[in-house]
Structures are given as C-alpha cells and as structure tokens.
Amino acid sequence: MEFAWTESQQRYREQVATFLEDNLPDDWFDTYCHGLGSPQQIDYARIFCPKLAKAGLLTPQWPAEYGGRDGEPWEQFILAEELWSWGEPRGPQYMNVNWIGPALMRFGTAEQKAEHLSRIATGEVIWCQGFSEPQAGTDLAALQTKAERIGDHYLINGMKIWTSYSYKADWCFLLARTGPERKAISCFLVPMNSKGVSVVPFPGLPEYGHLNEVFFEDVEVPLGNLVGEEGKGWEVITYALSYERVGLPRYHWGRKVLDTAVAQLQAEGRFDDPMVRAHAGRIVSKFEAARVLTYLVVDQRVKRTPDTTDPNVQRITAADACCELMNFLMEYLPDCLSGGERYLELFYRHNIPATIAAGTYELQLDLIAQRGLTLPRGR
C-alpha cells in the first residue's frame, strides 16, 4: 500500500495544467459562470475539446485503435481533477469519454465504433443520456418508450425526462422497450436531428441545461443503430453505469469552493468564529474521505478487481461532503444564491441533484447493504 503519484503521473498533471493555462481564453471564467449545461459552455466545449484532443489529452486512457494512447486509468482521473478544478471546460463531453465510448467499445458494431469513437475522440460531438422517464427513475426497468422493429428500421415512440444537455445534443444514447418482459430493453444511438424528436427545456433548481423533456414521435432509427443485441440492453446499461458511477472528482472542486467561501468570510472578518472554523475543518475531512475512496476505486479499476461496492461507498461519501458544504454556504453565505458569489452558487446548484442523478443515494445504500454486506433482499 502506498499513496504516491508516479513521476509520469506528476508530469502528466503538469502537462494538463500547462495546457489549461495556455489554452483557456481570458474570458473563460465568464463562460464558466453560465453553468456546465448552458449554451455558452456547451458551445465553448465544441471549440475546447478538439484542442484537448489534438494535444492527446481528451481520451488518453482509451486504446490507441480508438483514438486514445493506451494510457492508464489514473490519467483519466488526473485529467478530471484538473479540469473540474477549472470548471470542467469539456462541458458534457466528459460523459462521452467516461462511459459512452467505453460502452461502444465493448458492445458496438464495427460501423458504430468507426463512426462514433473517432468523433468522440476528436471532441466534436455532444451526447445525451436518454434513460429516465417520468415513471422510470430509480426503477429504470419500468421504462415505457417503445421501439418496434419495422422492416429496415425501428420506430420509436415515447418520452424521456431530465435528459441533461439534450437541447444541444447531436446524439442520444437511448433506452427503449423492445418486448413486454420487464427487462426486454434495448439501446439505440439516435441522432437528435431525426424527424419526430423534440426537446422541451423546463425550469428548476439545478443549473440550466439538465431539465429537459425529450419526445419521440414515430422516430425512425436504422437497424444498424441498435447497440448490442435486441432485448439485451440491460447488460449494456449495467456496464455503462459502472463507468458512470465512479463519479466526478467532487472533492477537488469542493475543496476549491470551500477555499473561496473561507476567503470571503475572512474578508468580511467572520472566519475567526470557532464554530465556523470547526465546521469548515469538518468539511475538509469529508472531502478528503471522498478523495481517498476515489483513489481506491481507481486503483481497483486499474487492477481489474472483481466488482466491489467501493464505488457506491465513494459516491455516498462524496455526496455527504457536498451536502455539508452546501449547508455551510447556507449557514454563513446565503447570499450566494441571491446575487452573491457566482462560483459558490454554481457549486450549490450543480450539486442539488448530487444525491439523485446517476443512481440515487438510497440506491447506493441498497447496493452496499445487499452486495457488499450480503444482507438479504427483503422489505
């Protein structure tokens, strides 16, 4: 057991940091302040990601045959830590790299790989995840969107909700029902400009860009856009979600946000209060817990350790830390949600759904209890 970065990992981190210093524009902070899912940031991601790709930094851990350079999984995390500390200039493209690409590498046809992996690896494309529906959130297998096979295509009808970034997306990684059995679900790659697809954003508490309804009315999708076998989509999703759920390096971002909050309290002469200091210190310990557990999960991924529930443990640890930081902001800097420091507001609003999206907190606890602690499934 040891916790050191190797020399090459340190070099890689410096390379990323230098790249960001050199390439982010002077007004990047303004762009960032519109929020991760904002039109401004998504548009900027289309400029930034190709540059990142050219520098060999967008998909370093992907195999060389798919546009990567066979880097180790640690590189993906170092990259994510650095990028999140700058406000994630990849915009939604982190999803492409983290799970859409790997799912296509595993289950995609040769044509799908050729078409999509190279476009993801060059940073040109925005995807969205079309899983959840109004009646199918935690219980994803209850989804109703239907795909009927008719001749040389599937006909898709139904709706998705909370589909982040879909209002700007080029493609949707869609789940639809292809049979009456509960898990007769299939995965499709659907161009968002297909006839019959419409997106309606709606307002809410999180930052802009996440809350959208996506309607599919008699959308024709070629048979070649099915991923994996028909009716076996569950396998694809399980694989994809295992990549998605390692989660974002919220600790890195959270620590920076806490520094900003403390700086503001110091400037206002309010950080000498022992209660406030103790509260801030406790939050650091929670983010450090999330950090070390994230490293544990990455290490397990590097070693291909058979499934553990440590990713779920890491998720709830990070969520706890974020909730505590949000609480800190509400106790001491409430004006961050009413015209105050935008950097703090963005963190708060981004993390409102941290315990809901990508597998709820309760779902993580179920998995830890039943798979990790082998407690029996019951009531």
């Binding site: 700058w86 503001q264 103790a278 406790r282 070390v292 443990v313």
Partner: protein, 345 residues
C-alpha cells in the same frame, strides 16, 4: 498509488491475525467484564516485533498503523498506538511500556494508566516523559472498554524528562493517526459483528437484516469504517499533519452515529457485557473526545489551511480567477461575477 497491501504488508498482517485469533474469545472468567487488558497478547506483540515497524528498515508508520488497526479487531484491549507509532516519532529512547498518553488534567482518570509504565504528557509547549509507579495509581471503574486509572498523588513533573517543544507537533500528529487507525479497526469489527447479528436475529417472521431501515444505516456505518481506514493509512503513509487531522476529524465526528446505530440494531442484547459489542463500541466511544475531539482536529485543519485566527488575512481566490489575472484578464472579485442569464433564472 497502490491501495492494496503489498506482499510484506500482507505477511505482517496475516502473522498478526494468526496471533489475534487466539484472543477472539475472552478467558471465561473475564467473559462478562466491561474491558479486559490482555498482558499475554501485549507480550506476544512486543516479543514478536509487531510494535517495531517504525524503527524497522523497509517498514514505517504505515505498517505501524496497519498493526494498530488490526490489533483493535480483538475484543481484548492492548496498548499499541503509543508504543508502535507515537513514541518512536518523538524519541529515540525505548520507553518502558505500556504507555499512557495524557493531555489536560492530571487528576482525571486516564486510559491505560493502571497498566502503564510510562506516561507521555502534552503540557502545551513540551512533551514530558513520566515514569508511572504502579503504587501511585488506582483503577477507575468505567463502562469504557479500556482499563482506566488515576494518580493517587499527582506525579512530580519536575522529575519528568522533557522532550522539548519540537516534540509537541509530532506528538499530536501521530496521536491523531494512531487514534484514527485504532478507530478503523474498532469500527470495522463492530459493523461486521452487527451485520452478523442482524442476519440471524428474527423479528416479525424475518431476519432484521432484510429491513431497508436497518440495511441503509448499516451501509452508512460500513462507509464510515471504510473511509476512516483509508484516511488513517494515508495519514500514516504521508506523515502530513493535514492528513492526520482529517483522519481523526472524520473518525471522531462519526462515532456518535456508529454508537447509536450499532447499539440500536443489537437491541437489548447489545447492552449486555456478554454480547461483546461494547468491547469495540465503548473503545471508540472513549476515543471520541481525545486530543480535542472532532472539533480539535477540525480547528487544526483550519489553522493549517487558512492560517491561525490571529494571522493577517489575505483572501485566497479560486484558481480560475488567479489564472484570469495572470493572463491579464479582468480580475474578478466576489460579487462581480454576476451574469444576467435569463436561462438561469
């Protein structure tokens, strides 16, 4: 980075486990005690070199912390942290042991004092080494699952050896690491013990462990134990005071939840000495307030990261803004970065 034990560490821990396996049950005459200090296990650890990791080439503080955590899994108590991790970081002398750590009021009951041969005392600007005379100590009755003792007459501090001001910071730092490592072993065992119990105990025609209300809280307890373990090990490996305070702060702020949930799920059985749960829970309970507790560690973190209270304050700025300034872009101060984006409102 490699978060698995290497071959040497695995061998160390499995050798320790095979010794501990002889102490998983208490001697029958102590079966119903509130705590039991095993002099026999103490001697085994000492003579087999388990307390020497810090001074052994090729090993170090991390190995010592692994030993502390593992030794805590036994229901019997034995002093490991002060001997294996703290003392070797503040003195080259091999101190008579067991060692008791004292900070604060000498008149109060101290953990391990009635079995200790040496006391290390934090007096603020120095660490004193005090020879403990058994005749000057009386045992104190407690429900904590460690032995506690009190000086009959306060020892003469002028006779104590002084380790100097430089020993204070490492004393506190390594005490926090030892505390977190010990909590990690205690927490893991108490959670496992309770998981086994709720798998067997039946109520309303099913085992308790099938209820989601039970499952979720146990999953959280498992999370706390797991995080505490890796925080403690990272702190031992890095030797960084921030890591030490983060580990202790995390462990100590969650002890209340673990005590509550684990006792809750063991029901009435859990409050009997015979059931054994208290051998772990009332050890971490005893550690909850040591070294200033979670708030003490949290203040240490605040001092390290943001400067002590008296220091002149220079507001820190996020990387984003710093970089904007370096690049000659408009420097943005809090409050200026307002954007009237109708989409966001």
């Amino acid at each position: 980075m490699d978060l698995e034990l290497n071959e040497d560490q695995s061998m160390l821990i499995s050798a320790l486990q095979s010794i501990l396996d002889r102490y998983r049950e208490l001697p029958s005459e102590h079966r119903r005690d509130r705590s039991f200090y095993s002099l026999d296990l103490d001697n085994q650890l000492l003579t087999n070199g388990f307390l020497d990791a810090v001074r052994t080439p090729g090993m170090g503080a991390l190995e010592a912390a692994l030993v502390i955590a593992e030794a805590a899994t036994a229901p019997v108590s034995v002093e490991v942290g002060a001997s294996a991790l703290i003392a070797p970081h503040i003195t080259d002398a091999i101190l008579p042991r067991p060692i008791v750590l004292i900070s604060g009021d000498l008149g109060k009951a101290q953990r391990y004092l009635n079995v200790a041969k040496t006391a290390l005392m934090d007096v603020g600007d120095d660490i004193l080494v005090i020879a403990v005379e058994a005749a000057n100590v009386e045992a104190v009755d407690t429900i904590y699952a460690y032995p506690y003792g009190r000086f009959i007459t306060p020892p003469d501090l002028s006779k104590a050896q002084r380790l100097g001001k430089a020993a204070v910071a490492p004393f506190r730092q390594w005490s926090r690491v030892a505390l977190a490592a010990e909590c990690a072993g205690l927490m893991r065992t108490a959670v496992d013990f309770t998981v086994d119990y709720v798998k067997q105990r039946r109520m309303f025609g099913t085992t308790l462990g099938t209820y989601q209300a039970v499952q979720h809280r146990l999953a959280q307890c498992h999370q706390i134990a797991r995080a505490t373990h890796y925080l403690a090990m990272k702190a031992a490996w890095s030797g960084d005071p921030m890591d030490a305070s983060a580990a202790a702060c995390f462990a100590q702020q969650h002890i209340q939840k673990l005590t509550f949930d684990l006792h809750q799920f063991n029901g009435g059985m859990g409050v009997t000495n015979e059931h054994k749960l208290h051998f772990w829970t009332y050890r971490f309970r005893a550690l909850q307030s040591e070294l200033g507790g979670a708030n003490g560690a949290a203040h240490e973190i605040a001092d390290l990261l943001w400067g002590p209270v008296e220091a002149p304050r220079t507001p820190d700025t996020p990387a984003l803004r710093e970089a904007a300034r370096r690049k000659g872009g408009a420097a943005k101060t809090p409050g200026m970065a307002r954007h009237l984006d109708p989409a966001l409102t």
